[in-house]
Symmetry: C2
Subunit: 183 residues, 2 copies
């Protein structure tokens, strides 16, 4: 891996472990085994490096979501597969957690990949719902599903247990199932 | 207001503005206009002071939730009133946001009021649902409602707009309305 890639991967790790505000340029350089001159040769600074790190994380999250949402089955089966895919619940969502960091949400360039990711996800879920669950408002219900995931992480971290996440997911799937008349 | 109260209120403000990890004992003392000796006379240190600050915030949140949830109407009407009550959406939930702070979730004493608040809220919502919406799993659906709120804040902060929060709330109320057969 080249130095630029090592710097980006180190930034991704540190964003996940400590968040943006608490990550110093020096910590990134140390983790990547790169000098200050090398970092500023490849990137304008910490915000520029973080923007690239967040874009990579967002792209991975989208690829993983697409694998479930483009899979076999009807809308509710695909959404169920997406909600049930394996997650490190107590660590939270690598994108959603960044929305709590004032250093991210106050910087339009850093906030943009978060907004784009969630907007895409809501749109994709709404397409599926519009096809197969005509009884619900597809756009609003898609927002509820994404919010249930993100809020499930918050409740799990508050509880120190995955139980609230699992209950929240079971609850929204139960409501969807009633809405499709399959209950 | 006495010095101890001023210290607690200053800690509450700083937790809301900066979070726990980024708040120094010195910043609390300056905000409260209190000296270091005075702070350590009243509290064992920053964790002790933060625990009291979080307990007060949690108590306020519970009182505000009870006002809607014990109000007039059936379960869905009360839950609708609760979800629609006025909130500073882009700032997030003063309790939920703390669940993203590693300094809070890694300390059982500081995490406890978060867990207690969400457990109480889920229990109260489940009671209401069990009375009036027998078609749903009351416990799971209650977790979904609380997760929708918490995740709605996350999506709103990521978008820099209250729109995703409003959509997520509309979506969960639409699903509940279908489940009660009132749609």
């Amino acid at each position: 891996m080249g130095t630029a890639d090592r710097l980006v991967e180190s930034t991704r790790e540190l964003l996940w472990e400590r968040g943006y505000t608490a990550t110093s340029p020096r910590a990134i350089q140390e983790r990547a085994g790169a000098g200050q001159g090398s970092m500023y040769h490849h990137f304008r600074g910490k915000p520029d490096l973080a923007a690239e790190a967040i874009r990579r994380t967002a792209a991975e999250l989208r690829t993983a979501a697409e694998a479930s949402l483009n899979g076999p089955g009807d809308a509710v089966e695909r959404i169920t597969a997406y909600l049930h895919r394996s997650r490190d619940v107590l660590k939270g969502c690598p994108i959603g957690r960044l929305a709590q960091d004032p250093g991210i949400v106050d910087d339009p360039v850093l906030r943009e990949p978060l907004d784009t990711t969630f907007t895409w996800l809501r749109g994709r879920l709404a397409e599926l719902l519009a096809e197969d669950v005509p009884a619900v408002d597809a756009g609003a219900t898609a927002a509820t599903i994404v919010a249930t995931l993100q809020g499930g992480y918050v409740l799990a971290r508050a509880a120190g247990s995955t139980e609230p996440f699992e209950q929240a997911v079971a609850g929204v799937l139960g409501l969807l199932s009633l809405a499709t008349g399959k209950a």
